[in-house]
Subunit: 342 residues, 4 copies
């Protein structure tokens, strides 16, 4: 297990204009083991306080367009908030330059290049590395994350689904091919690009499903959960856009392999997540607001008419992205897992 460094780790953030980068910066500003030394953008070269007004006077850096070499001079570790496709094109150089990487994109999450190409519509730029990169969900892959130089940080829906399902699948408590994930997310999950469908007056006072049967988190969920069982997993995953900034609630319907009770399920989940500070099993029905602005994930379970319902809440930008990333970073560097995150 790595020892925490004696001096602050210098970190750079790639792709600093979006919402996950903003949350990441806010967390890192509270992390006593970190100094942010660079924030990059290909499009903006303004002071960061102009791009994210909430950082005015809190982080005196300009956005810069930096290459791998320059990054390696400034930083020990990069958090990459770049989009998929772009990321896998620079990761090899960043690793070669000696940088550690927490990657927010989907580029290293899937194990094989064919599945990647099927769901992301382009050839993977760095296929040989696929299948060897640890999936950055610390509750499930903590030991592998500790030694890693490159971590494929989880997606937001996927974290919610996997944390809800892994304890059931691992204990062979549910049928692996009859799983329905009805998930609801705040709008920040869709990013900060100027698109008409993300305008305030389009999203506000409205709720809709999207990407039905086609959302890219589907294969990611199936692959990761599949590791805990011998049988292929099949899920129906239906994401919905909810008029709120942040938060995901997933209501997941699965079929038990034997009769179970709510009490038994809650006890099983509690035991499974007992060592993990950020997953809380609750008796009540969780609301997204309960976990909003935090790195916590709240899970409960019910049995209704012979089906198991798991209902799970987390903050898509924090536990589902930037908070989870810092949790990974803490493990990579030997910091306490909760550092900067409470």
């Amino acid at each position: 297990m790595p020892q925490p460094p004696s001096k602050p780790v210098h970190v750079a953030i790639l792709g600093g204009t979006g919402y996950t980068a903003l949350e990441l910066i806010k967390i890192l500003l509270r992390h006593s083991g970190v100094t942010i030394t660079a924030v990059t953008s290909r499009t903006e070269q303004k002071p960061i306080g102009q791009v994210h007004q909430s950082l005015a006077s809190r982080l005196e850096l300009k956005l810069e367009d930096l290459g791998p070499k320059q990054l390696a001079e400034r930083a020990d570790c990069v958090f990459s908030c770049l989009p998929h496709g772009v990321t896998a094109e620079i990761v090899p150089e960043l690793l070669a330059a000696g940088l550690k990487i927490v990657d927010f994109s989907a580029d290293y999450r899937l194990d094989d290049a064919a599945t990647y190409q099927e769901w992301y519509d382009h050839k993977h730029p760095d296929p040989t590395r696929l299948g060897k990169v640890v999936y950055g969900l610390p509750e499930l892959f903590g030991p592998q994350i500790r030694g890693a130089n490159l971590v494929a940080n989880n997606g937001c829906y996927t974290a919610t689904a996997i944390l809800s399902l892994a304890p059931l699948v691992k204990a062979k408590l549910i049928e692996p091919q009859d799983i329905i994930i009805d998930a609801k997310s705040g709008v920040s999950g869709a990013g900060r690009s100027a698109k008409q469908n993300l305008l305030y007056c389009e999203c506000n006072e409205s709720l809709s499903a999207y990407g039905v049967g086609k959302h890219r988190h589907t294969p990611e969920i199936e692959q990761i959960i599949g590791r805990f069982t011998g049988t292929p997993i099949e899920v129906i995953f239906t994401p919905h856009l909810v008029p709120m900034d942040r938060g995901i609630l997933a209501t997941i319907y699965s079929k038990p392999t034997r009769a179970v009770t709510q009490t038994e399920l809650l006890a099983h989940f509690r035991e499974f997540y007992q060592p993990h500070p950020f997953v809380t099993i609750v008796d009540h029905l969780p609301a997204t607001k309960d976990t909003s602005g935090t790195n916590f994930c709240h899970i409960t379970a019910r049995v209704v008419r012979g089906r198991i319902l798991t209902i799970t809440s987390l903050d898509n930008l924090i536990k589902g992205a930037s908070g989870g990333a810092v949790q990974n970073f803490n493990l990579m560097y030997g910091f306490p897992e909760t550092m900067g995150l409470l």
Copy 2:
């Protein structure tokens, strides 16, 4: 079929302080065949413009506490927005006084008193009438509504679920006991009582499931859909509270009895609802905003991994309550079905 009356129908609204009464009044103010002659309340006796500020200068009536006799003097028909339990205690008197009734409560929706008592926790006050009252969903029970004196107006979630499922059940396209209804509603569905869990700061920026496995619309959905098949229906119904004023979106997962395609499903729904002006089958995924403030219901269907998904949007206060009530009223009195509702 009744002939439209030559003079405006005098209507009274019972229980006028809540959100469904407000929507009802707004619709009736646009209905040229109606004069609102009384609005009642047991608790408030103020001008209605003080209880509903949006009605200031639009309806010059005071809320009054009126008995059946007084109501019969003032009105031909009552829309009752009273809560369940209370309603069935006065309906017999109202009918005896010669009034027609559109009842918003659940009191006459279920067919038997035992089921009512099981779900509503009290003995039904008027059990002999149960099973003889028409269920007020005009797309399905139009002919019976036309001659009725008492109509049990549908619930909001139930309208959404039944309109989505009836065409499938009737055509025996789905298994009757493997149906999951994941429904999401705006907060107005919970009424206007001062409860902490309905405060702005509790609901805003938050989404949660509630009443899991216990919501009172469950037996109503099962009973009504069950009429279209020989087999008992079993649904898992999970309502969610969404941070928006109004609108319901239901994402419904069912198991086809044979292979079907999306194209076939959409064609089937289009044919089924072809005569009905307020149900629109859409190719795209509907948003609650598309039907908000209207009496329209938008439905689409998808096939994902061997399951049928129907995704349906309507306004809980209008198509799910007050608009549907006026649609029933129009049929009862021989007005055009769409009168006041376009």
Copy 3:
């Protein structure tokens, strides 16, 4: 005064993709004296139900790119929702083709070309017509609107400010150069273009001032109010963006020329607006929700520490735009002023 036409007026809507056009269509669909015969767009040529999903099955028209001649073949009257600049380039042709026009843009609201150029940053394309076009606020300019072929429909903030101030200025009750208009608007006022600052996650849970000292409604307010007095008007106008779809609330601070009481002010406003069905003087403090979705404007007044406060609420898309436009249209064609608007 014009007589209402015996056959439905054929109307075309220019620039049909935005929010004001959508509201206009919804109102006109309820107006029994109108048939919508065309909706234009320079950028989209889709069925209107795809551009505005809420119109699916309600209006079976395709957006088209039509010139003045084609418009004149199809329509008697056009409602133009085109932006400023573009509008004044086609209005002369539309008038020449015999069309009546209700213009939503600012192009014909100001009386002189120099002021227009100063605030709108380009030369006016049709300067000779300026100063001769009636300002489309029916409560103040009804008689002139009745005979008009071209009406410059009011802006949303301007309607709010002018309705609040005209009774005071006309009666010389306030100092004409010490007026502060602190106005708050829902986001729909900013239109439907894909701009980052209008994204849901930028606007939601946030409130900010914008255009301080520079908003283009300033000269419009000053010019119109100025007509009721001999002295030039000077206002400080501060608009704010509020996280809600629609509604404007203006809190206006002015200095009385003599001691006045709240009672006196409310009586004065009531008398002033007595003949006008859509302006309601209320004793309570109005909320935007009270007028939301309606063509009504609620006004109250207070006296605080020697200043008059008028607090006014209206729906920016309806009374502030499309509802007011139909009110103008009704006057132009001799329909009852409230037709389609209750």
Copy 4:
């Protein structure tokens, strides 16, 4: 100046069921110099994770009904979130028991008992202490706070107004009796009591003024600003309720005593707040979201038509309440001012 204690300060929170208590707990959980030893409530005796679900697994305390003696056994310092009236009845006992107090109520903010009685409608229970308690706005009264045992934490609107106006009044840059404060607040400022006017469906999509000319923060603003000048201050203060959880934006209109420019004003504000880490002077127009969830206050200034506009944003629950309280606590105990607050 006090030295930071060598062991964590034991703190108790009085009145733990509301929103300010929740924010306070979240901040204190991050403060390494503090242990929360008790949270009280007169009405609830549940685990705190049931009253505030977001604290589940984060703070394992039960709400208790504790008297001054019990509090003194458990704690060194209390943060009192009790309402006005109640607070001043127990503060003497708490002080006598040796506790330090940060008081969130208004009970010790005003200097004289008559003004208190006029605005709060009851006789002050502890009048002799009035006028001797330091006002807890650290940017203005830091030195007096450092030695204090009892601090009257500022109100939320008052902090916003005072931080905006103090630099102007102190430098005699504005007329002291021609100040208009048009303030807009999120709904959390109104507390967590179950009142109909605070329901989601009443507040959402709505904006209104309230307490016009009567809000209790008026005398507080006037008294505190008045200390910086010889002349009595008179403000018109108009609060508005905005559909968002949190945040205050104040747009303040004042009359300069001499010609000033925006540049000069911004420089003056920057110099005034240069030593203070939580007040940031910005060039742009601040949004409430920029300061939401933080202890920062953003201020800008403009000159429009001979008036000064200051536009100021802060989080009502943090800088306006619980964050400011911890800032006071830090000064009282000799901790770094920013501890727990970045």
